[in-house]
């Protein structure tokens, strides 16, 4: 694995992780569990 591979793998993994986090929050919000961040509750 070259340096390029490593850098890209880390960046892509980070992006996918954040995407999955947002998907989880999407599901939570749809069922009224997640009331969003930084908003008036």
């Amino acid at each position: 694995m070259s340096v390029e591979d490593l850098v890209f793998a880390m960046l892509a993994a980070g992006a996918v992780t954040l995407a999955m986090r947002a998907v989880v929050r999407m599901l939570g919000a749809a069922w009224g569990l997640d009331r969003g961040d930084g908003e008036e509750r």
């Binding site: 070259s2 390029e4 591979d5 890209f8 960046l11 892509a12 992006a15 996918v16 954040l18 995407a19 999955m20 986090r21 947002a22 998907v23 929050r25 999407m26 599901l27 939570g28 919000a29 749809a30 069922w31 009224g32 997640d34 009331r35 969003g36 961040d37 930084g38 908003e39 008036e40």
Partner: protein, 890 residues
């Protein structure tokens, strides 16, 4: 998992998630359920990250040369430098589509984030529209034009086909992203308009929300267009920057409506007028970005941007139909609710001028669409017959003779310049007038206001400038021809071509725009200075921060006016010269002389191309050579018996004997024309022979005919040696060697000296003088400006590219492009004196910077603005837009 499979998974996941987001947003918006809208917002943010992930995978595949992926194999190769590998991302259709999906996902994510505190129906429809727009491109990417598609039978070729050489230019690397981003960002204002109409939130707040997005899109699109112009100017070698090519036209269309939209937004924001215009323009601008993409990607129109046949055409066609039906339906449904908050009361109010400018811009859109599509449509005999009848009717009305059309109509740049030019000039005139008149002005207000004074000063300035231009040209003509001054002025005016008239008008109105905008700035800064004692810089800064729309708008207008000066220069005063030149021949351009010195080959291993450079010396016509330059030749030639300035750019050198003169001639020619390209591979002192081989055999691989040029150059050296003193033998087929044999030792030594002389000599070229065997004329380096346009031949492409050389100047650019000609050592030179180019680029930079500064968040405005505050006196302040709850800047 390999890159291709990972990429496929990610784009498919995006597709599914986009559909889910669209569904959630629609359900949430219809039900008015904040939970679903909020969920759709999170989904949008997830899409942004997924888009980033799949783009990273594609970029990685390109950078690591994964040729198992078709897209990578077709648009890159292993020799491309990093910059062009990154360019490959958007260099082909599939990649451009991936870029579209990435950008729209990220913009959608940002949009969702900015709306995170408002899970209303309005936000629901906003996200739904954005997600549906994204869904279309997702579907295209997954099913029709997938960038991660691999080769079915094999693991792909060993190396890729490389990137189109025209795109291998730093400007081309920069051009597509802002251009595409500009297109893509217009989705958001459109989504806001649709959301406002679908949710019924028609209080004008959508205009406030969408304003910054539309500014962002405008700045990006403008940057894309300007960089495209710059690329065209520097790379294409035809001497212009805008050729009315279908793709350029396509990109211009949303820019025209987007520019109109910025102004109608501003009017609605402050007066509640033009509401129907705003939803219409938001739709039209977005529609035109899709139409432009359709035009570019389909093979409907043959174009400079000749992409290969695309499978996307039917998709785009249907998408456009759906868009028109949906938008038209919604606008009609809300037609009554979109009633403006009043009516325009005076033709001399700013809103009336904005409407006039919008109508003109729409007219320009129509003209450009007409001119772009007409060649295609008139291929059909039925359309041709209709056009022919219309032209015949016009001809009979105007009393002209009608020549029946025989084949498809072809409209060129001149047609566009003629048709769009006056519209542009009229818009420019309105640009000068607009800021002078206040919003919501009643007819009586105009007479009382300061508008007339500003206008009078501006108009006076414009008339003075126009008169000065005419008088200056008249004076020039009068001194050149000896005719009386008045007659010369009148002759100049009568001889103006249509382009000249346009140019004159454009300069006049551009000056007026500059005058009005600068005057307002200067007056306001002075008022602040006297009222508050601030420095000029501080006062200007406060003005910009306090009222960015007005003062930033002025800056953008100043930029646009400067750009128009550039266009006007090209329309009115461009001087172009085409010439075929043999070595040491001269041509003239305006007051300059251009002397062709010769060509040289160069091999660029990093770029994978061979370049043929043509060298020109540029100097003022008729001015004698500087004594310093003559002295430098004298110092370099201690053996010469006399050195004196001759006909520029030559310096005449006398030698004591004929053989000394000839020896010098042989050495100089060998050093200047042979040594850079040919190496000594063998020296036989006994037979007085040298064997020469090309220094860079790679050049011959790309450009086999360059050997012929070298042989011609060698022949020139042999002839310069004098009668029978040297002979040249050129190797046969497949043998790239030359042998030069001398008959006496002095000629042989002179030849060898050419390789020993090195590069330090101040002499660029030398020639014999016909009947004076002891005299040689030399071209010294300091006699002028050395310019070297070139032609590049790439290993992996059959089409050579021209690299022009430009000597930029404040008032005009000298532009040279050269290609090899048929005759021995000859080149075709295209030389141009491009006036006011610096103004064009400077204006673009000012407009872009000012536009970008307007996007940046500004400090909240104070809720009340005192009427007597300096800098706001000329504008009557209306109440804030209905329902916007205050006038703060967003």
């Amino acid at each position: 998992m390999n890159s291709a499979a990972l990429g496929q998974v990610l784009v498919f996941a995006s597709l599914v998630l986009t559909a889910v987001v669209a569904g959630l947003a629609i359900v949430g918006a219809v039900r008015g359920d904040g939970r679903q809208v909020r969920a759709a917002g999170f989904g949008m943010r997830a899409l942004a990250w997924l888009g980033a992930a799949s783009s990273l995978v594609l970029l990685h595949a390109i950078i690591t040369h994964d040729f198992s992926i078709q897209y990578v194999a077709h648009y890159s190769d292993s020799t491309l430098p990093l910059l062009y590998l990154i360019t490959t991302f958007w260099g082909g259709e599939k990649g451009a589509l991936a870029f579209w999906v990435l950008s729209l996902s990220v913009l959608g994510g940002v949009l969702a984030w900015t709306r995170r505190k408002d899970p209303s129906s309005y936000t629901g429809w906003l996200l739904a529209t954005t997600a549906l727009a994204l869904l279309f491109f997702d579907i295209l990417m997954v099913f029709a034009s997938n960038p991660f598609e691999t080769f079915l039978a094999s693991g792909g070729p060993a190396d890729g086909s490389g990137l189109n050489p025209l795109l291998q230019n730093p400007l081309m690397a920069v051009h597509p992203p802002p251009q595409l981003l500009g297109f893509i960002a217009y989705t958001i204002p459109f989504a806001y308009a649709m959301a406002a109409m679908a949710s019924g939130k028609l209080d004008g707040s959508w205009v406030v929300d969408a304003r910054r997005w539309s500014l962002f899109a405008w700045v990006m699109l403008t940057a894309g267009l300007v960089v495209g112009e710059l690329w065209s100017y520097l790379e294409l070698g035809w001497g212009g920057y805008w050729g009315w090519d279908p793709v350029e036209n396509a990109a211009l269309l949303p820019w025209l409506t987007g520019t109109a939209m910025l102004h109608t937004f501003s009017v609605e924001y402050r007066t509640g007028l033009l509401r129907r215009w705003n939803v219409f323009l938001a739709f039209l601008t977005f529609f035109l970005t899709i139409f432009a993409t359709f035009l570019t990607r389909s093979q409907l129109i043959q174009s400079l941007h000749s992409f290969t046949g695309s499978v996307l055409t039917p998709f785009f066609l249907w998408y456009q139909v759906v868009l028109i039906v949906a938008a038209a339906g919604l606008i009609l449904y809300r037609w009554k609710d979109l009633k403006p908050a009043g009516r325009i009361e005076s033709f001399l109010s700013r809103e009336a001028l904005v409407v006039a400018a919008v109508l003109l811009l729409l007219m320009a859109v129509f003209v450009v669409v007409w001119g772009t599509l007409l060649p295609k449509f008139s291929e059909s005999p039925a359309v041709l017959a209709v056009v022919d009848q219309a032209l015949a009717a016009i001809a009979s009305l105007t009393g002209q003779v009608h020549v029946p059309l025989t084949g498809a109509v072809n409209v060129g740049p001149e047609w566009f310049n003629k048709a769009v030019g006056p519209i542009g000039i009229a818009v420019l005139a309105l640009t000068a007038l607009g800021p002078v008149f206040a919003l919501r002005q009643a007819p009586g207000d105009v007479a009382r206001g300061t508008a007339w004074r500003t206008l009078a000063v501006g108009a006076g300035l414009a008339v003075v400038i126009a008169a000065a231009l005419v008088l200056a040209r008249g004076a020039g003509l009068s001194t050149a021809s000896g005719m009386p001054f008045a007659a010369a002025c009148s002759l100049y005016l009568r001889s103006l071509s249509w382009a000249g008239v346009y140019g004159l008008l454009a300069v006049t109105f551009a000056m007026q725009v500059l005058g009005v905008a600068s005057l307002d700035w200067v007056r306001s800064v002075r008022a602040r200075r006297s009222a508050k004692g601030e420095s000029v810089r501080a006062a200007a800064g406060v003005l910009f921060r306090e009222n960015p729309r007005r003062y930033g708008g002025h800056l953008v207008h100043i930029g646009v006016a400067l750009t128009f000066l550039g266009y006007a220069g090209a329309a009115g005063k461009l001087v172009k010269k085409d010439a075929v030149l043999a070595p040491l021949e001269e041509t003239t351009l305006g007051g300059r002389a251009l002397r062709f010195l010769g060509t040289k080959d160069r091999w660029e291993p990093a770029g994978g191309y061979a370049a043929l450079e043509a060298f020109f010396l540029v100097y003022p016509k008729g001015r004698p050579i500087d004594a310093v330059v003559v002295d430098s030749v004298r110092a370099a030639l201690p053996d010469a018996s006399s050195v004196e300035g001759g006909e520029p750019p030559f310096v005449t050198v006398r030698f004591a004997s004929e053989s000394a003169a000839q020896g010098f001639l042989v050495t100089t020619s060998a050093r200047a024309t042979l040594a850079p390209s040919l190496a000594l591979s063998g020296v036989d002192r006994g037979r007085r022979e040298v064997r020469l081989v090309p220094r860079r055999p790679e050049v011959l691989r790309v450009l086999p005919e360059s050997f012929k040029r070298l042989a011609q150059a060698a022949n020139g050296v042999v002839e310069s040696a004098g009668k029978d003193r040297m002979t040249l033998r050129v190797g046969g087929r497949g043998d790239p060697t030359m042998t030069v044999a001398a008959t006496d030792d002095s000629a042989f030594d002179a030849l060898l000296a050419g390789w020993q002389a090195g590069d330090e000599s101040p002499i660029l070229a030398a020639r014999a003088v016909g009947n004076q065997p002891t005299v040689v004329e030399v071209v010294p380096a300091g006699a002028g400006l050395l310019m070297s346009p070139e032609v590049r031949h790439y290993l992996k492409s059959e089409n050579p590219t021209t690299e022009v050389e430009i000597e930029p100047g404040l008032l005009s650019d000298l532009y040279l492009a050269a290609t090899p000609a048929q005759g021995a050592g000859e080149v075709n030179l295209t030389a141009m004196d491009h006036p006011m180019m610096s103004s064009l680029w400077l204006g673009a930079v000012i407009a872009l910077l000012a536009g970008a500064a307007l996007i940046a968040p500004v400090r909240r405005r104070r809720e009340t603005v005192r009427k007597d505050e300096p800098g706001v006196a000329a504008v009557t302040r209306p109440a804030g837009p209905p329902g916007s709850g205050g006038r703060h800047e967003r």
